[in-house]
């Protein structure tokens, strides 16, 4: 399971203010806390700063890596901003994201083609947002094909099948879950990743639902999540769910988590 820590996102008020004030200390602490809680990648997003996004993104990569040494998940729809952040990034980064939208695909491709960078690939095309599992798998297939042909190893591709709000359509949970299963069994070696908060949009007790949805998706094969790693219950759920899904040899990680008191709240 690859965990991307989502907290350094400028659309969150405290983070946005810290970025504007260039408060490296506060941001480094958020990076460190996430890394220590088990995040493999630290997401950096400065999208709300139109016009200054690239500059901020680069600075965020610098301070996050200085503090944690962990790779970043560089989160932007703007290839120029990603390129600037990549220039200072040490080691292979994760890029969030490419999609099948033609302009975006062509603009992002040079940043990953022939590199070791990981890429989050959104199941979205110029025809709009997919609603069914079938539509998602179709787009995923085209994305994987297009990326592999352009020198991106399948192991570096993280397909995001797009979580949509259950509140607006009763089938949106299952369409997503079925897509994960189909993608993971059809395209051997590829990964699937997603954020969770969309699933519970418009409903109460969102954290409760997000945590359960994560477990259901892991059972279907999902092996990446963009989440708040400081949510202890969520992190414990992931560990138990992976063991239950048969992806934890001799329950080693589950037992390790138990001894580290990560299963206590």
């Amino acid at each position: 399971m690859i965990v991307v820590g989502e907290l350094i996102n400028a659309s969150r008020k405290a983070i946005g203010e810290a970025i504007e004030a260039r408060d490296a200390g506060a941001l480094k602490k958020v990076a460190k806390d996430q890394h220590e809680a088990g995040a493999d990648y630290i997401d950096v997003n400065a999208g709300v700063f139109v016009g200054r996004e690239a500059e901020y993104l680069q600075w965020l990569v610098e301070i996050v890596q200085e503090e944690t040494g962990a790779p970043c998940c560089i989160d932007s729809p703007d290839p120029a901003a990603i390129e600037k952040a990549l220039a200072v990034h040490g080691g292979a980064a994760m890029i969030n994201s490419i999609s099948l939208e033609k302009d975006r695909f062509n603009a992002m491709l040079p940043l990953i083609s022939g590199t070791d960078n990981k890429i989050v690939a959104l199941c979205m095309s110029d025809d709009g947002m997919p609603e069914t599992a079938k539509d998602r798998v179709k787009i995923a297939g085209k994305l994987i094909d297009g990326l592999v042909r352009n020198n991106v190893p399948i192991e570096n591709i993280y397909i995001d099948p797009l979580v949509q709000p259950l509140a607006t359509n009763d089938s949106f949970g299952m369409e997503f879950l079925d897509a994960v299963e189909e993608i993971m069994t059809t395209f051997k070696g590829v990964h699937t990743i997603c954020g969770l908060s969309n699933i519970s949009y418009g409903l109460p007790e969102r954290k409760f639902m997000n945590r359960l949805f994560a477990v259901m998706a892991i059972a279907k094969g999902l092996d990446g999540l963009i989440i708040n790693p400081l949510d202890k219950q969520m992190m414990a759920n992931l560990i138990a769910a992976e063991a239950l899904a048969g992806r934890d040899d001799f329950c080693a990680r589950y037992l390790q988590a138990y001894r580290a008191k990560k299963l206590e709240f």
Binding site: G47, V48, Q164, T168
Partner: protein, 209 residues
């Protein structure tokens, strides 16, 4: 008149059959259509909006009520079309160029319809030209713009500016996850709303202004 209140209750209780039956019964007994519409159906959706804003109602419940309301409205529609007084205003709505997200926009459309507005939904990835030609053709009172991405927010400014340039009489309102009232002010949009229930209030305010 007593059962106009029951129509209101049927919408809030998600009871489609009862709503349709009650609307028919009121029509048969000669109750004024505007009363059925405004006090029964639209009044109920206003209450739904209020409950939603207060965190008592959630999105799926808003959708259920809207479906019931629409079933009741369908009974009235053939007769209402002849009545100018039923018209609350015409709103052209869409997600701006480059943005394919439509869930929030659809919720807003639904609530605006629930409030009795005529809503022309242009879908997603809509450019300024399309907004303008629809606004002209439908003689729109309001053009509503939606965006979910920070990268497509500038497209809102383009549409607002183009509407001004063309000298159209319609007002503009904007919304979407990254959109703020500050941004609305900055790009010169006439209105902003945080959610679907608020959009109804904003639209009413803009039309009566």
């Amino acid at each position: 008149m007593v059962s106009v209140k029951n129509i209101f209750e049927a919408v809030l209780a998600f009871d489609k059959e009862k709503c349709v039956e009650l609307v028919n019964r009121e029509l048969d007994s000669g109750t004024d259509m505007n009363t059925i519409l405004n006090e029964g159906l639209i009044g109920a959706m206003d209450e739904v909006g209020r409950l939603f804003s207060e965190g008592e109602f959630f999105v799926p419940e808003m959708l259920r009520s809207a479906q019931v309301m629409k079933a009741g409205l369908d009974v009235l529609k053939p007769r209402l079309s002849k009545m100018e007084s039923a018209k609350k205003g015409t709103i052209v709505i869409g997600t701006v160029k480059g943005d394919l997200h439509d869930i929030g926009k659809n919720l807003v459309s639904m609530m605006l319809e629930g409030a009795g507005f005529e809503v022309i939904d242009l879908g997603v990835d809509v450019d300024a030209e399309k907004f303008i030609s629809a606004a002209k053709e439908k003689n729109a009172d309001i053009v509503g713009l939606s965006a979910l991405l920070t990268t497509t927010m500038p497209a809102m400014e383009t549409v607002v500016a183009a509407i001004r340039e063309q000298g159209l009489r319609c007002k503009t309102m904007i919304g979407g996850a990254p959109v703020t009232d500050k941004f609305a002010l900055k790009i010169g949009a006439d209105g902003y709303s945080e959610d679907a229930a608020g959009a109804v209030e904003t639209a009413r305010r803009l039309i009566s202004a």
